[in-house]
């Protein structure tokens, strides 16, 4: 049998070029997964209290909430309960937040509901379905007809990776048109920090968030998701 050194050289060249092309394509896939999948954060397995502060070093908070994950019972439940002190048109009031997200056996969000108690208003925001995921907004607690309804590709998933619960929306693109940073300096400085025993947070002593800049965020959202907020 003839053993040509050129054949070996050709194989080595093909291998090296293929590895380089493969690495390039793999990096492209990684970029795609980063841009393609919307990461919604991580969740702790044990119930935990959080404070909403203007900066991680700030003494005074603007709100507090607790987040609890219950993987037992009927299905995995992620519950949020809390309040935020907000100010609009020189009126300062605590806004009560309550959210529940239910995940099926594959860790896909099947139903969710967020209730906001603010003055005499109690708007509800929820999602139903896995794929497509239909988002609905109701004006009050009793209203049956949604104010707006919009379907987006699902599912939103809660997965356990390396001991950390991750909330992701693999079918939703990461928000690129949403410009929160430019909308309000007071909102961008908000941080979520785990509550510490030596730092209390209650509505009487908390600072408030000025909601006026939210109109700018709404404009930004309108640009990022055209048609979604048209019903408002």
């Amino acid at each position: 049998m003839n053993s040509s050194p050129f054949a070996l050289l050709a194989s080595t060249s093909i291998t090296v070029v293929s590895i380089l092309v493969g690495l390039f394509s793999y990096r492209s896939l990684e970029r795609e997964s980063l841009g393609h999948s919307l990461s919604l954060g991580t969740v702790s397995a044990t119930p935990i209290q959080y404070h909403l502060v203007e900066s991680p070093t700030a003494e005074r908070c603007v709100g507090a909430f607790s987040l609890s994950l219950k993987p037992v019972s009927t299905q995995t439940t992620l519950a949020l309960e809390g309040w935020v002190l907000v100010g609009l048109n020189e009126r300062v009031e605590p806004v009560k937040l309550e959210a529940t997200m239910l995940f099926n056996a594959l860790g896909q969000l099947s139903v969710s509901l967020l209730t906001i108690d603010f003055s005499n208003e109690s708007p509800r925001f929820g999602t139903i379905g896995v794929n497509p995921l239909t988002a609905q907004l109701y004006r009050g607690k009793e209203s049956d007809k949604p104010l707006f309804e919009h379907s987006v590709p699902g599912p939103i998933t809660l997965s356990l990776q390396d001991g950390v619960y991750r909330l992701q929306a693999p079918s939703l693109p990461a928000f690129q048109g949403l410009n929160i940073a430019g909308a309000s300096s007071s909102l961008t400085s908000l941080s979520i920090v785990p509550a510490k025993p030596d730092r209390s947070c209650d509505a009487a002593t908390a600072r408030h968030i000025d909601l006026a800049p939210l109109t700018k965020i709404a404009d930004s959202l309108q640009r990022a998701l055209p048609g979604v907020l048209s019903g408002l």
């Binding site: 003839n2 040509s4 793999y26 997964s33 393609h36 009927t74 590709p153 809660l158 997965s159």
Partner: protein, 557 residues
């Protein structure tokens, strides 16, 4: 003629003469029966997949199963099994085939030899899985919105998908042959067996811990995460699944990048395989030759020692065991299959997630998981039997005439072979069945019942292997891996799949009866009746097929 085509021509002619050119009416009938049987299985797979997909779409609000999830799971398992088959095929094609010395002496270039043999390995490992995959893909294409690009792109996708394990098998076979000599090989097998026993004990200890603690926190999500393991971004099977899934249900993921990645990986592995072969083949082939010489020398010595000491069945079993440990391709497959078995047992812990489900839904999940576990265990048993039991008659090779002329009935030889394989396979299968039953049902009566039933299921599968192995016996092989990739092997795999499905249905009924809270005489009678039906069905099928094999082997010339 192109040297690659020249090297491939004898293989193609052998296939044509063996399968397509039936000379007698009996052979023609056999060929028609095989084709008809394969078409029935393909049709069944098509309709079963469509039915399954329809069931999933009926509950869109509760759960969403994207096509990429079942595809990636199926393709990942298939790639593992294909790599194993490719390793055995590469060992045979590059090192153990009879014509290698002739080719090495001829003025053929090393690249032609490499490419011709790689194409042969690729064809041998790809044709059988393709028969199983194509109806599943066709069912998916008709259930989802069919893209006109689906067929050409899927063919273009499967070429590198199968080339990767074929090249990996070549690399592993080359390294194995070049680095491990005869004495080391025995040592490696012994160490592997010891490690396997240690790992088995460790895994069983872990399983018992999991069963006794039964901590449910996050188990549902762990299960979901385990399923998504098949979709890891670095797995070639996941790239293939995503490409096919995008053609079925577009979600905006880039097909071109994945196809490039698939082809570049296949080319890189193929290039590495050629480099490995170019540098290590002379050494590996030299060792293969000396190994063959040593094996025949020790075989002669063994025969002299064993002849007077052992009774007839034990002598046949001893001979089979010796042949198995001396055959590199067979013993390597055993090590890999053992590894797969341990991996599966280790991951059985995932099934302890049942407590996480709703009380009302838990029973349904329990049934579904148990049926999946039963199917995996039975298919695993038939996979072992395809490689070891089905081939045991044909492995007699050119020395089969000795058995024919010896003062021993062929029926007794087949029964001795059956006994030799039945005991270890039934014990392994019983271990897998009862462990699964204990984890999923958690009751000792069900563990004992399913453990005992597994002895009958194994009886059926091993009997089918011996019977069909004798019926499709082929003694003109060059290396044993050819037998695993033969048409007879396909018939055995399809038949054992049907037998597995026939067993799963009554086992599901048994589980339903066991979980029924209404205790009574009628329930106990039904349990006994179903268990008896499973036992009789397997015994009858094994006896019938073994008789068919006995008749067929008696007429072999």
């Amino acid at each position: 003629m192109n040297p690659i085509l020249t090297l491939l021509r004898p293989k193609a002619l052998a296939f044509r003469n063996g399968v397509l050119k039936s000379t007698t009416a009996a052979q023609r009938g056999q060929s028609i029966a095989i084709v008809g049987f394969s078409l029935i299985i393909m049709g069944s797979l098509f309709f079963a997949t469509r039915w399954g997909l329809e069931q999933l779409t009926k509950i869109p609000l509760l759960i969403y199963v994207p096509p990429s999830l079942p595809l990636s799971l199926m393709l990942m398992m298939l790639m593992v099994m294909t790599s194993l088959t490719a390793l055995a095929s590469a060992l045979g094609s590059f090192y153990l085939a009879d014509d290698i010395e002739t080719i090495l002496a001829s003025p053929t270039s090393s690249i032609s030899f490499f490419l011709a043999r790689l194409i042969y390995v690729l064809c041998t490992v790809a044709w059988m899985p393709f028969i199983f995959i194509s109806p599943v893909l066709a069912a998916m294409a008709t259930s989802y919105q069919l893209s006109p690009w689906f067929i050409p792109v899927s063919i273009a996708t499967f070429l590198p998908y199968f080339l990767i394990p074929a090249s990996l098998g070549t690399i592993l076979a080359t390294i194995f042959m070049a680095t491990i000599n005869q004495r080391w090989a025995k040592m490696v097998v012994r160490v592997a067996i010891l490690l396997a026993i240690a790992a088995l004990l460790y895994v069983l200890h872990g399983l018992l811990d999991a069963v006794t603690t039964r901590s449910a926190d996050g188990q549902v999500l762990r299960l979901a995460s385990s399923l998504s393991l098949a979709q890891s971004p670095w797995l070639p099977s996941a790239w293939t699944a995503t490409i096919l899934s995008e053609l079925l249900v577009p979600s905006g993921k880039n097909i071109a990048d994945r196809l490039t990645l698939l082809y570049s990986s296949a080319l890189a592995v193929t290039g590495l395989a050629h480099i490995a072969l170019h540098t290590l083949h002379p050494r590996g082939f030299s060792r293969a030759l000396s190994r063959r010489a040593m094996a025949s020398a020790t075989s002669r010595a063994g025969t002299i020692r064993g002849k007077t000491a052992l009774p007839q069945p034990a002598a046949v079993i001893q001979k089979d065991l010796r042949s198995l440990t001396r055959d590199v391709a067979q013993s390597t497959q055993i090590i890999f299959l053992g590894g797969l078995c341990l991996f599966y047992l280790g991951n059985l812990k995932t099934f302890v997630a049942l407590d996480s489900f709703a009380t009302d839904a838990s029973v349904n999940w329990q049934r579904a998981f148990f049926i999946i576990h039963t199917a995996i265990t039975a298919f695993f048993t038939s996979s072992i039997c395809t490689r070891l039991v089905f081939t045991s008659i044909s492995l007699e090779g050119k020395s089969y005439w000795i058995l024919q002329t010896a003062p021993v009935l062929l029926r007794d030889i087949l029964r001795a072979k059956f006994l030799g394989w039945y005991i270890p396979i039934a014990v392994l299968s019983s271990l897998l069945f009862s462990t699964g039953a204990q984890i999923l049902i958690g009751r000792w009566d069900s563990t004992l019942l399913f453990g005992a039933l597994s002895f009958f299921v194994s009886y059926g599968i091993v009997g089918l292997g011996i019977g069909l192995g004798a019926y499709f016996a082929d003694f003109s092989w060059e290396h044993p891996s050819q037998l695993v990739l033969s048409v007879g092997s396909l018939v055995y795999m399809l038949s054992s799949s049907i037998l597995v499905l026939l067993n799963i249905f009554p086992m599901g009924m048994l589980l339903h009866l066991l979980l029924d809270r209404n205790a009574g005489l009628a329930r106990a009678t039904l349990i006994c009746a179903v268990a008896l039906a499973i036992a009789i069905m397997n015994l009858v099928i094994a006896k019938m097929v073994m008789r068919l094999g006995e008749r067929s082997s008696a007429t072999v010339e």
